[in-house]
């Protein structure tokens, strides 16, 4: 049997006494949308930060296509084909949308600083080529109206899309989306769902997503993993995980409280 596309094996991270992530293992197949759910503080973002090498795991390892990710420095991750967005948007605020997307294409630069200082014809050609690729993303995500706007002046919804676009400009194999729909209105969430479907179906990108909106989760996910207090509670089909007693309990409290709530709802 060949190694899975992506695999996390027993990853753990501790902040002081707090085990933010505690022995989490999962794998993701190529082309899948794999969603991590769980209440706030469950350790979902921390899992992303371990994958993107912002945190060093105290135990465990991450493998992408049989290569160990956990040995590389953070800036090598994008080149490997892993891109991400951030829960609290981390854009380059005082650059234009276009510049943000071009920075997304940084791993594909072909010129060196010396040639750039003189802006040799090769640099100009490379810049035009980079631009053409970035424009594809601008078209895909309908970002043309904002192309030359400063990110700092954009509405929240647009910034989320720019962040998605920036991640796509790295041409990833694996895309990590941290709460892509949080803060978006119904219409924007709908767009986001379409884009996630497009990204997986048309661009063939594998997605790991952290998300709270269960409608979106059920719609786009192939498999779901539920976490609480740094541990995995359940894993499987979206509907099955949502009904799992441990998951219900984590979200609502005790099973009794859950039953109470269900009674009230019916």
């Amino acid at each position: 049997m060949s190694a899975p596309f992506f695999q996390a094996e027993g990853i753990s991270v501790q902040f002081g006494g707090l085990k933010a992530v505690d022995g989490v293992s999962f794998h993701v197949d190529k082309g899948e949308v794999f969603t991590i759910i769980g209440p706030n503080g469950a350790g979902k973002t921390t899992v992303f930060n371990i994958i993107s090498r912002i945190y060093n795991p105290t135990a465990g390892r991450i493998m992408l296509e049989g290569q160990e990710v956990t040995k590389l420095p953070a800036h090598r991750i994008a080149g490997l084909g892993i891109a991400r967005t951030f829960q609290n948007i981390e854009l380059f605020e005082h650059a234009t949308v276009l510049q943000n997307l071009l920075i997304g294409a940084h791993v594909h630069r072909t010129t060196n600083p010396l040639a750039e200082a003189l802006f040799l014809p090769s640099v100009k050609r490379a810049e035009v080529a980079l631009r053409e690729r970035v424009e594809e993303v601008i078209d895909l995500l309908d970002l043309a109206v904002h192309r030359d706007a400063m990110v700092a002046g954009l509405p929240y919804g647009a910034r989320k899309v720019v962040e998605l676009g920036r991640a796509l400009c790295t041409r990833p194999k694996l895309l990590l989306l941290d709460e892509p729909s949080s803060g978006l209105n119904v219409e924007e969430t709908e767009d986001m769902a379409f884009w996630i479907e497009d990204i997986t179906r048309d661009l063939g990108i594998t997605v790991i997503m952290v998300e709270h909106d269960m409608t979106l989760v059920s719609r786009v996910s192939d498999r779901v993993m539920a976490m609480n207090q740094g541990r995995v509670l359940a894993m499987g089909q979206p509907a099955e995980v949502q009904r799992h007693p441990a998951v219900v309990e984590a979200y609502i409290g005790t099973p009794a409280a859950a039953a109470e709530l269900e009674r009230a709802a019916s």
Binding site: L91, H94, T111, P113, L118, L130, G153
Partner: protein
């Protein structure tokens, strides 16, 4: 009002995005080229100084304004360049070889001074670079057999292919050529992947990293380029002043250089040049108004630093984008007249107060 319709990607990449810019920069260039005909030799020396400081300013802007790294060691980089040039030229080395050596040596020192940037940010980085700067100043004062120590070092005039660029117009043109070249290099870097990596580091280190930007490499590169520029400027400065001593390159000078880019307007190449002009013009303006001041003021020591500090405070409080920001607003006001509205630039202001140089 002007709308620029873009039809090709090259348009964003080109140096001048519309004919108007070609015209205005052309005019500026023409004025600078004929200046020696109209101004006194003294003013010409000052213009040379503006060119020299413009080189430092665009380099420091790249580091502080575009990479977000504070350096309080730039006077030391200038010193490294000035002394390298002074010592080499005295030993008979040709001018251009000296300048290249000054740039490379200053860049090497810049890499070392920039090392703390890999660990600390903002004010802590400022303090670390300040400490390095002080050490370099001290080394220069102690290495008497090479630098002449506190007694100083005489520097001969520029000699290019047997031609003396001693003073007046020829030296001014030399400085102008270097300043234009330095500005073009910075603009070129800024419209390339390297410049965008710098901006990425300035705005968010965490996502810069996740986009594949090697923080250590680009921070070090920014320090090296910035220091090399200061080194070249130092080399020219040595020829302009003709006498070097360590007290020309103290922490106070470093702070003045940072003030220069802040007052000019952080995050803009124009601002760097305005800042350089301001830095050189301020003492002249103060001297010009001195006769009209009451005696206790005109005789007071430290008048210049006080005025400088006051301007800095006013800029930080009221116009965080500096002279360039003020100019932008004026221009926008006329462009949009009568539709200009109050608070149009407010968002930028709020940011400048909190974020930059974080």
């Amino acid at each position: 009002m002007r709308f620029i319709f873009k039809t090709r990607y090259e348009q964003d990449i080109e140096l001048f995005q519309h004919g108007g810019k070609v015209f205005w920069y052309g005019l500026l260039m023409a004025v600078l080229l004929v200046a020696p005909v109209f101004v006194s030799p003294y003013v010409l020396t000052q213009l040379s100084q503006v060119c020299i400081y413009a080189i430092v300013a665009v380099g420091l802007m790249l580091l502080a304004g575009f990479t977000g790294q504070l350096s309080l060691g730039h006077a030391a980089f200038m010193a490294v360049g000035a002394y390298t040039q002074g010592v080499l030229v005295t030993a008979g080395v040709p001018f251009f070889v000296g300048i290249v050596a000054a740039a490379l040596f200053a860049a090497a020192v810049g890499v070392i001074v920039g090392l703390p940037a890999l660990r600390v940010k903002g004010l802590y980085l400022g303090i670390a670079t300040l400490a390095f700067g002080t050490i370099i100043e001290e080394i220069i004062a102690r290495a008497e057999h090479v630098t002449g120590g506190n007694a100083g070092l005489m520097v001969p005039p520029v000699n290019l292919f047997g031609w003396r660029f001693a003073d007046g117009p020829s030296f001014y043109y030399l400085c102008l050529a270097f300043a234009v070249a330095a500005t073009l290099i910075v603009i070129n870097i800024l419209r390339s992947p390297t410049g965008r990596a710098f901006v990425a580091i300035r705005d968010s280190e965490i996502s810069a990293q996740s986009m594949g930007v090697n923080l250590a490499f680009y921070k070090t590169l920014s320090f090296a380029i910035s220091a090399a520029f200061a080194g070249v400027a130092g080399g020219l400065y040595a020829h302009n002043i003709r006498f070097l001593s360590p007290d020309q390159f103290t922490v106070v000078q470093s702070i003045e250089l940072v003030m220069m880019v802040v007052i000019g307007g952080l995050g803009s190449v124009h601002g760097a040049i305005y800042g350089a002009a301001f830095l050189i013009a301020l003492p002249q303006m103060i001297n010009a108004v001195k006769p009209f001041l009451p005696l206790f003021l005109s005789e007071a020591t430290g008048l210049q630093p006080t005025v400088f500090g006051a301007v800095l405070i006013l800029v930080v409080l009221f116009e965080p984008l500096g002279i360039y920001g003020a100019w932008l607003k004026t221009r926008t006001y006329f462009d949009l007249f009568p539709f200009y509205r109050q608070g149009m630039f407010r968002r930028q202001k709020a940011f400048q107060k909190s974020d930059r140089l974080k």
